[in-house]
Subunit: 340 residues, 2 copies
DNA sequence: GTGAAAGCGCTAACAG
DNA sequence: CTGTTAGCGCTTTCAC
């Protein structure tokens, strides 16, 4: 294993050096069982371990205990700025418990199943998933496999898996209310893919918020993905098929920036001619021109909470809340018309 | 292990079902040894494995073989937009080989050593490190431990570890040459931390490029980190202590954006009053105001190549090139004065 | 409080 | 081509 260096010191070597039995060493080195050992022996073992440079072999203990101190994280696209903070939250929670995190980038959803199979082979203790489409058979598979898992940034509508999400409906309500308050009436929506829960949740949020104000959705176009290109395409369609709305609520910041692109080409000025809102408050959207009014999500906390829930499950503390909903927040900048 | 579900099917169960010996199953399921097995038996084993839902236990094979099919990646800050594409490249390379990637966010450099120790305990087959300061004792430690490792985005000047980097000197030369070509003479530099290799490399690059043109660095301020805040602070110092330069070459985009912030506060207009260049071409810097002229790095390829080098090492193919240098590219946008 | 012994699931000589 | 055997390093009853 170690290409060079000494041939790896084992618990047996430590036992010998300390003049005790291996099982004693095992106990001495296990925080939970340390109490069973006399102070004197404990010291001797620790000293021997340090002196020999002992490093426990997790593979061996994993084989014996069935627990690997390892969790897997499935992300659709590490490169999408919403995920790094989520991952950071997960990693921080894991690190605090001495767990490591496998990260898998699930570029294509058909790869998800084989990746989960490999995670199962690795005997991860649990999974945090930021993927899952609506009614995903993968969720079934995981539930059946008995692997602990929690969804993040995506809820499981069937409730088979716990989840940590941001309140999409509230987010859109915040955006719509802001637009209405600044005098807009003809409000359109650039919707996310209706195959993913957030896509439908946000769309419903927009519609409901409008209804609450006695308004109807002026127009809508669905994006193929949460990307700038998809935003451009959808914005073109929206403008081609409809009278120009006074404002458009976008399903996310990237899509909003795609809308910026199209508007720029067409010489339609934001916010003079049209107001735009985003969702996510990605880094730098405060620096674009004009700075984007958007919805800020507690991304890092999303990840942190998801991991904490997962660890609770792993440790057998069954949860009360099976899905926790975090509060988003409106950030008003310059892409929406100021209040009159 | 599996909280519910059947009590895990092992190679033994498969052997029994297929009417062969366990070692035969082991061979049949190992791509490298499959050739040793008759077609008939092979089929029987595969069928039995599938029928029973057999899933190899990596912990067991890791214990036996000493190889975990696992590598570790150490990142200083997942949230910094340069790292996700690097990570993606690493992950893609690993996934192609059936390896998983542990990601550790090394927020504080003092945590690096313990994290590496834990990685060692996990028996990762290798490490990709995007951390390492200059003359980092950690590099020594790793070299001594015999663990395969390669640096990415940071070179090891002592050459103990292979590395994949972008050409910092060339990057700065590209920026300086562009500025000089558009008529600038008084050129300043917002330098990166001189404790990290990229910080000194880029600074030297700026100075050398200027010298090549018969010019000297007009002024310089060192940033405490590669962040927007540090950029703001450094830009303030630069402006306070010196006559205003005509252009400033920034060590990275975030720092350049920090410079934008203070210039904005002071009513100094970019590029009319001063030209600014960045480095990295992070997402969205084409959308800021004004769009940032910067240096684009092949981040994903950096990660990919680093992982490929690591796997070559792991497989014992000793490398010829111990440090590979990738070419950056100038992206001219609107933050620099156009050619006359 | 400590030792003895068994075995987690798999792979790799070694035979045949 | 397939079976036999041994054991990777650790944890965990079970004794004492």
């Amino acid at each position: 294993m170690n290409p060079n260096s000494s041939p790896a010191v084992t618990i047996r070597d430590v036992a010998q050096a300390a003049g005790v039995h291996v099982s004693t060493v095992s106990r001495a080195l296990n925080p939970d069982k340390r109490g069973l050992i006399s102070a004197e022996v404990l010291r001797a073992v620790e000293e021997a371990a340090r002196r020999l440079g002992y490093r426990p072999n997790r593979a061996a203990s994993a084989l014996r205990t069935g627990r690997t101190q390892t969790i897997g994280v499935l992300l659709p696209d590490i490169t999408n700025p919403v995920f790094p903070p989520i991952l950071q939250g997960i990693e921080a929670s894991a690190a605090a418990r001495g767990f490591f995190v496998f990260v898998a980038n699930v570029a294509d959803h058909v790869l998800a199943r084989p990746i989960v199979e490999r995670m199962l082979a690795q005997r991860v203790d649990g999974l945090v998933m930021a993927i899952a489409t609506r009614d995903d058979p993968l969720v079934d598979f995981i539930a059946r496999s008995g692997l602990h898992a929690v969804l993040v940034n995506r809820a499981d509508e069937s409730g088979r898996l716990p989840a940590v999400v941001s309140d999409d409906r509230l987010a859109m309500k915040l955006a719509v209310d802001h637009l209405v308050a600044t005098g807009h009436r003809r409000i359109g929506h650039l919707a996310g893919p209706q195959s993913v829960p957030t896509g439908v949740g946000r769309r419903q949020g927009v519609e409901q918020a409008l209804r609450d104000r006695g308004l109807a959705l002026a127009c809508v176009a669905e994006c193929e993905s949460y990307s700038r290109e998809a935003g451009r395409a959808a914005m073109r369609r929206l403008l081609a098929d409809n009278a120009r709305p006074e404002a458009v609520v976008c399903c996310n910041d990237l899509v909003a920036l795609g809308a910026y692109d199209v508007l720029g080409e067409l010489g339609i000025e934001v916010p003079r001619d049209i107001s735009i809102t985003g969702h996510n408050d990605m880094p730098l959207v405060d620096m674009v021109n004009p700075p984007l009014t958007t919805i800020r999500l507690p991304h890092r906390e999303l990840g942190w909470r998801a991991a904490e829930m997962l660890f609770d499950e792993i440790e057998g503390k069954s949860l009360s809340a099976s899905t926790v909903v975090l509060r988003p927040e409106l950030v008003v900048r310059k892409s929406t018309r100021p209040a009159a």
